[in-house]
Symmetry: C2
Subunit: 233 residues, 2 copies
């Protein structure tokens, strides 16, 4: 997905990034550029570029006379799409999925409320189309087709909110929804109640009912939280 192997330094990152985010090198571990360059069979300049990228993600810190130090998890740029992808691919996947779902539960309802205010006529139409697509594929194990429309639906909501920070979470939501379909739960057809909620959200947005759009979306995300057993006793 996205940009695989854009140059040698990218290949190095494809190995080193997942390794670090998976915790293979505990915080405080020290790596040396030369050693890494040898290990990956690339020149020092290529290795340096890779290290610079990791540094900009706050995964490592490079200091003279010391080496490349792995930073503690709390320093990482966990919003970097690349970091998110690496972590979702590793053993920390469940925890990452929970974090992201909680984030969704905070952001999406507010985004839906804003979308009800700012969505263009075209976006309203898209939304309805997505919702209908979900309905049409909600039965008969058409999981892939359902997922496609589900992702599109949430993307439109986030974009239509008019807030760039929300809009940029579209990719995250896509990953979470795809993960749910492909890895975790959802062996059978999606919950009919959820499908209905999506249709109702589309209606609420079209009707410019921000309050209702927000509340309905809150119900959707609460469902997502329940699927992962994230809730108070």
């Amino acid at each position: 997905m996205s940009t695989p192997g854009r140059g040698l330094h990218g290949r190095v990152l494809d190995t080193l990034g997942p390794a670090i985010t998976a915790g293979e090198y505990p915080a405080g571990s020290v790596l040396r550029t030369d050693e890494l360059a040898q290990r990956f069979e690339v020149s020092r300049s290529v290795m340096r570029e890779a290290v610079r990228v990791l540094e900009s993600m706050h995964l490592v810190e490079s200091r003279r006379r010391v080496g490349v130090t792995v930073l503690p998890e709390c320093e990482w740029n966990v919003y970097d799409p690349q970091v998110i992808r690496w972590r979702l691919a590793g053993s920390e996947r469940p925890r990452q999925l929970r974090s992201l779902t909680v984030l969704r539960s905070a952001v999406e309802p507010v985004a839906a409320g804003l979308a009800a205010r700012h969505a263009t006529a075209e976006q309203c139409a898209e939304l309805t189309e997505c919702a209908l697509g979900m309905v049409a594929n909600s039965r008969g194990h058409r999981l892939e087709e359902y997922l496609f429309h589900d992702v599109a639906f949430h993307r439109v909501i986030l974009t239509a909110s008019g807030n760039e920070m929300f809009a940029r979470l579209g990719g995250v939501v896509a990953e979470v929804l795809a993960g749910r379909t492909h890895h975790d739960v959802m062996f059978e057809d999606p919950d009919p109640a959820a499908v209905t909620l999506h249709v109702q959200v589309a209606e609420a947005v079209r009707a410019r009912d921000a309050e209702r759009a927000e509340q309905l979306t809150r119900e959707i995300t609460e469902g997502a939280l329940q699927e992962l057993d994230i809730l108070a006793p």
Copy 2:
């Protein structure tokens, strides 16, 4: 703040990053590595490292035979703390501040609710301490001291939520609050109502009343939205 001038490539970024995020090079503009290296009087290797970092932030894209292309704003990693800082420093500051405040309004109430469930005794104590500090400095133009406790308060809430994604927004909130005090509104003492709300949130968290903590925080962030005139007619 943070890491100024960590190496030559960092200096280049300190100039080029703000320039790009400020829109000095419109999307689609093409730069050449060699030319940039000359302009900044650094070697090509240093320039390449800088470009790699910009690339990892999705500010630019480097392609063979073409050059370094500036990407449209919608591609940027707007959650990268560095990008946020650059944009807050430029002419897009007001818009950026609004985006971030809307994000806060979505995240912080949910974070407060979670904090009420997960906060340790120590965190509860910190929270109360911060709230008291806010009260103590809420009169007599002690804006800096007030800001300090305000930032600390929101950081504790975000951290205590137990969600790493929320916790990492502490820096963002700090920037927004600092910006409000230093640049924009707030020439006089803070709104007493807001101060009271903070105290009540601390109480609610201590009392493990998630519902109330969330609702009170929602009132706080709604106040922040109103200060920036972000609300429906």
